[in-house]
Amino acid sequence: MLDWAKWLKYEGFIHLSAISVSDWIEEKKYKIAYLLWSFKDNVLLVLTAKIDRENPVIDSVIPVWGNNAQSHERENWEFFGINFKGNSNLIPLFTENWQGPPPFRKDFNWQEYVRDKYYNKENERERGYYED
């Protein structure tokens, strides 16, 4: 992975637009897409990698795309629980005191989570959330 990234950077893809992760729950895989842009040739390129969903570990691309990659990796670590090996600064970016599972996974039901954590069935005004 890192070798590919290094080669692509050498070829002119110096701008990392974003790292986009998608959760393929049936295949039990995470697909990680690195969206790259070359200022020299004006070409858009998507580098993808599939990793195991149960033990999501992948090499960090900080050595290639620097601090920009660092913050993108932090976001995906927080939302999907992907461990970027080599990124020493994996701390939550958006959430505060989050105790649930990584929120952007497909098996995370936010409606259920909010209902269980923040609503009370006994409360007359909130009872409606429990009726289907």
């Binding site: 110096i14 701008h15 990392l16 637009s17 974003a18 986009s20 992760v21 998608s22 959760d23 897409a33 969206l35 842009w37 200022f39 004006n42 858009l44 998507v46 795309w65 620097g66 601090n67 920009n68 660092q70 913050s71 993108h72 976001e75 939550p92 970016l93 958006f94 959430t95 505060e96 929120p103 952007f104 936010w110």
Partner: protein, 383 residues
């Protein structure tokens, strides 16, 4: 009885007063000069030793929410990604959906899209000018900029029905409605007004220059490695603009320049913003000259079916929005809702790595100036 020296020693040990002048300083997120975003600063005296961006105050989980909604609902949601330029985000979403569905929209719709997005860029740059003026203590500039921006918001109200949020005006398949009667003249008058605003812009005032020149310098190498795009990158010396490099809609038919500066400081970013307003006016004039007549929406989207399937596939669309590269990466598995939506906001890079880098070693008084000179929008970072 204790000796005087002992008491001094005890006092020192208890350290009633801090031993050094280092302290933590939290800028935002409820501060009027920060806008829903916080930066944790470590400060020694007046100098900042380190800065840590702390987003999340405005996080609404749009990426997840969009997986639960239909494309036409998402068009409305895409306004809210950034308050300052909702039309530009409308366009990014609509283009991504059209690419997934293989749609070719009517010619007139393409022109109107360009007109709307350029108007949106002008009002966004006016905000930039306004908040940067406020950031350096030039409050009159703030009021003038927001006053002139209001003329454009009135146009938006006439055309889309909403001043700030157009409620999905640019939707997959075209536009929700055609231009109202006589809007061309109105837009022409507003553009004259915008030129009028330029005579108030302070660029030679020594106080203004001392607060902006040589401060917050971002060199080109750093700008690229930290992921800067758009006006921030152009102010550091790289001539790049997605409207020219990877044209979308009908941008390849218009003549316009890409303003570039070398210095990379606050002043150069400010000047880039002003020059871009002039370029946008140029594009608008050309667009009105050859605006074709006809429909603005595809027939099958006039009364759209709710269970319309999105073709299986994956697409990344990026546009040059006022702040830089705004993109959407949408994956569909053939259902009626997108499987995954990833929003790439330009402020993500500008507010985390770039801002942290620029604030190191800066003075406290320069924090708002550096912060707003990056043309940031906390909303598109937090999504």
């Amino acid at each position: 009885m204790k000796e005087r020296g002992d008491i001094m020693k005890i006092n020192q040990e208890m350290s009633v007063l801090p031993k050094s002048n280092e302290y933590d300083f939290y800028f935002g997120p409820c501060h009027p000069g920060s806008g829903n975003f916080g930066v944790k600063l470590k400060v020694k005296g007046e100098k900042i030793i380190s800065a840590l961006s702390d987003p999340g105050y405005l996080h609404r989980g749009f990426e997840k929410l969009m997986e639960y909604r239909l494309p036409l609902q998402n068009a409305m949601l895409s306004d809210r990604i950034c308050v300052f330029e909702s039309l530009a985000w409308n366009l990014v979403h609509a283009e991504a959906m059209e690419e997934l569905m293989d749609l070719e929209i009517p010619e007139r719709a393409k022109y109107i899209r360009v007109i709307m997005v350029e108007l949106s860029r002008i009002q966004s740059h006016l905000i930039w000018w306004g908040v940067l003026s406020a950031g350096i203590g030039f409050d009159t500039g703030f009021k003038i900029a927001f006053g002139y921006r209001d003329y454009i918001l009135d146009l938006f109200a006439d055309i889309t029905g909403g001043r700030v949020y157009p409620a999905g005006y640019i939707c997959p398949g075209g536009l929700r409605r055609n231009f109202p009667m006589g809007i061309e003249e109105k837009i022409g008058k507003v553009l004259d007004k915008i030129y009028e605003a330029f005579k108030y812009i302070e660029t030679g005032n020594p106080t203004f220059l001392s607060r902006t020149k040589g401060i917050g310098v971002l060199n080109l190498e750093k700008a690229i490695s930290l992921g800067a795009t758009g006006p921030v990158l152009r102010a550091s010396g790289l001539k790049t603009d997605i409207r020219k490099d990877d044209p979308y809609e009908v941008y390849n038919r218009f003549n316009f320049e890409i303003p570039v500066r070398e210095e990379g400081d606050i002043y150069s970013r400010y000047m880039i913003g002003l020059e871009e307003i002039k370029e946008s006016v140029k594009i608008l004039k050309q667009a009105f000259e050859d605006l074709p007549k006809g429909e603005v929406i595809l027939p099958k989207f006039k009364k759209p079916k709710l269970n319309m399937k999105i073709k299986e596939g994956e697409v990344y669309v990026h546009n040059e929005i006022a702040r830089g590269e705004g993109g959407m990466h949408i994956i569909s598995n053939g259902g009626i809702r997108p499987y995954r939506v990833k929003v790439r906001g330009p402020s993500f890079s500008h507010m985390i790595p770039v801002l942290e880098y620029l604030l190191q070693g800066a003075e406290i008084a320069d924090v708002p100036a550096i912060y707003w000179s990056l043309n940031v929008c906390p909303a598109d970072l937090d999504r």
